[in-house]
């Protein structure tokens, strides 16, 4: 059965290692924070200027001056710090943030990513995504395998304006975990009960299947 958003977040949480500083994009990536095991020490950075983000505040304790990049009210944990936008992107550009998790409209088999604009129809803006994908050493994309019309989001080439080139390392979708390799999307894991054939059918880009593909453990 294909994963839901929470399932994707749970699987990505397993990619987070002890000692990582992590930047979480808006949407599914934000959910990842909820599933990182307590035994692991990580800190979440939000590019609007906070390190050491905690959970949402208790009702009545929201502070308009303490939000994340999704404009949600948040709290901070012991060891947190606030800083300005230039320093925030110094952390990102300077590769001090070890892992970036973000959503995408399209990913190409060479690691290109598009997630900020549909010409003539929709423009959200790139926000901090272009800085993140241009600099992060480790980028994981969290997204549905296909769009609402059922078309694949894992493509030979992106059709939408790019956010970054050749930067995505790993993709976790509702169907699979894939690694971007020089030859295309290497299938690493299947969602529970989802067959390789289903994944192949939903993948437009070159899918590489080597040996037996295990099911994800969540």
């Amino acid at each position: 059965m294909a994963l839901d958003k929470i399932g994707i977040a749970k699987r990505i949480a397993k990619e987070v290692k002890d000692g990582y500083y992590v930047n979480l994009g808006i949407g599914i990536p934000t959910l990842v924070a909820n599933y990182v095991p307590e035994s692991i020490n990580v800190e979440f950075q939000s590019e609007n200027g906070v390190l050491g983000m905690g959970p949402f505040p208790f009702e009545g304790e929201e502070d308009a001056d303490i939000i994340n990049a999704g404009k949600q009210t948040i709290t901070t944990l012991p060891g947190a710090s606030f800083f300005d936008s230039a320093m925030s992107f110094a952390m990102i550009r300077g590769q001090h943030v070890q892992l970036t998790i973000l959503g995408a409209m399209e990913v190409a088999e060479n690691g290109d990513i598009a997630n900020w604009k549909i010409p003539g129809k929709m423009v959200k803006g790139m926000g901090g995504a272009m800085d993140l994908v241009a600099s992060a050493e480790n980028i994981i994309v969290a997204m549905m395998h296909t769009n609402r019309a059922g078309a694949s989001k894992l493509l030979k080439r992106c059709s939408l304006p790019l956010t970054g080139v050749g930067c995505v390392k790993k993709i976790v979708t509702n169907l699979a975990v894939l690694e971007v390799t020089p030859d295309g999307f290497q299938l690493l894991e299947r969602a529970p009960g989802v067959s390789v054939e289903e994944i192949q059918a939903a993948t437009e880009g070159n899918l590489i299947v080597t040996g037996t593909i295990p099911e994800m453990e969540l």
Binding site: E59, D65, I66, K71, Q72, A86, R93, G128, A134
Partner: protein, 233 residues
């Protein structure tokens, strides 16, 4: 000590005219110069170019100026859920230069710190880099981006003193420090204006040298865009 305080928002915005380029601090609705924006609406100046990460929401922040068609061009990183912003952009009524958030911050800092341009990897290979100079350093590609030139910068701080020193609070800090001293005239509005000597010199985020005018703001609404909470168990 060089005194920077002015009596009110009117005095603070003296000299703002049509066709100017303005920088405005804030991320979403957090840390925006609410008083300066309200006065810009009052002044009804038009044909403005606004450098600001976002353009507020439909009925608050810079959205107020968008509704009155006072803005000719926005330089921002994010449109988000601002429908009027997206509508004017897609219809071509509003010129929009969308640039990466870190590039926005650093083009402000370059203006503040006297750098003519910077090399950043953000946007390389995308339409953001089209027509721009690119260059390789150590096997990686970078885009040359220029320092902003602006007439006024409007920033909002938590506390400030009469010498123009500023302290920001939480994530309301965001772009505000980077914009101080990045325009010909920097106007700071603060929630609490105190006499010089009150703030600890070690705790000042932006020294007064980067600020030309400071005033105590009034009636901060500090609207929350996404009120997310959890229940006490």
């Amino acid at each position: 000590m060089i005194r920077k305080e002015v009596a009110n928002v009117k005095d603070a915005l003296a000299g703002v005219t049509n066709n100017m380029t303005l920088m405005l601090g804030g991320f979403g609705l957090s840390g925006i110069p609410e008083n300066a924006i309200a006065e810009l609406v009052q002044l009804n100046v038009t044909n403005l170019t606004c450098i600001s990460n976002n353009a507020g929401v439909d009925d608050f922040g810079l959205g107020l100026l968008l509704q009155k068609k006072q803005i000719k061009k926005m330089v921002s990183s994010y449109v988000g859920e601002n429908e009027e912003f997206e509508r004017q952009m897609l219809s071509g009524e509003l010129a929009v230069e969308l640039i990466p958030q870190g590039t926005l911050a650093e083009r402000c800092r370059a203006a503040q710190a006297g750098f003519p341009a910077i090399y950043t990897p953000a946007g390389y290979g995308t339409e953001v880099a089209e027509g721009k100079e690119t260059r390789e350093f150590n096997g990686k590609m970078y885009v040359l981006e220029y320092a902003f030139k602006a007439d006024f910068a409007f920033v909002k701080a938590w506390k400030g003193d009469t010498a123009g020193n500023l302290i920001f609070k939480g994530t309301a800090r965001n772009f505000n420090p980077c914009m101080c001293g990045a325009a010909k005239i920097t106007v700071a509005e603060v929630e609490e204006l105190v006499p010089a000597g009150t703030l600890n010199p070690n705790e000042i985020h932006i020294p007064g040298i980067f600020v030309q005018r400071i005033f105590q703001g009034a009636k901060y609404e500090k609207r929350i865009e996404q009120r997310t909470v959890r229940q006490k168990s």
